[in-house]
Symmetry: C2
Subunit: 136 residues, 2 copies
């Protein structure tokens, strides 16, 4: 494989890992985990299913606090994953198959996500999350 | 302004224009306009509000044909626009304030969009569109 080819392969592996860390942070329901994986800049953005747009790290962080305070447990299984890299930017498209509990009852749902990552030093940090309900 | 600064400013202008062209193509309800602005690759993706994921140009194109065949008119007003560029990749986050007609009645709706663009030669082409309903 060419150097460029193996570099791309390494980048895709690193971005895939960053995406897994994002969903581990989501499952942890611990905002401290989100603090470690998000780029804390004023241009980061987040769209949760049905919510309006959050711009900038303080507003994005606040949305995770809200979700975590209102969720008892959440498990993700990812399917239809697409990982693309261009320079220091990467994007992951995936289907989140979610089992969540807010009270006693478990609920299954499907969300489509677009996640953007930026290479900040040695690490890929998440800079945009867009989740939306699948109704089909 | 530094050279890098003015180059970035030019790129942001060009991406903003590409994003306007995308919504003009949407309003035109003419799939030929979409043919001209999409990068016709197997990694392009599209998520319409509530729909499942479309991967690859033929599946993405087919979704536009379906929408255009079932829409009488559609007008977009964009707000909360964020345009970011990193190398040959750019992303636009915006709120689509839509007035649409399928039969006699006009309908107002709000959709949040993540649009990704890739610089292909001299032009920025769209490679991903994710639209989702705002329910807040």
């Amino acid at each position: 494989m060419s150097d460029a080819g193996s570099q791309l392969k390494e980048k895709i592996k690193a971005v895939t890992r960053a995406n897994e860390e994002f969903y581990h942070a989501f499952e942890s329901l611990d905002v401290g985990c989100m603090d470690r994986i998000w780029l804390q800049e004023d241009y980061v953005t987040c769209i949760h299913p049905g919510w309006s747009l959050r711009v900038g790290w303080p507003a994005v962080r606040d949305s995770w606090v809200l979700i975590f305070n209102n969720t008892f447990s959440m498990k993700f299984e990812l399917t239809e994953m697409q990982v693309q890299v261009a320079g220091d930017l990467a994007w992951v498209i995936c289907t989140e198959n979610i089992t969540s509990r807010q009270g006693e009852a478990a609920q299954e749902s499907r969300v489509l996500a677009t996640n953007l990552y930026e290479k900040a030093g040695a690490r890929w940090k998440i800079i945009h999350h867009h989740g939306s309900p699948v109704m089909e």
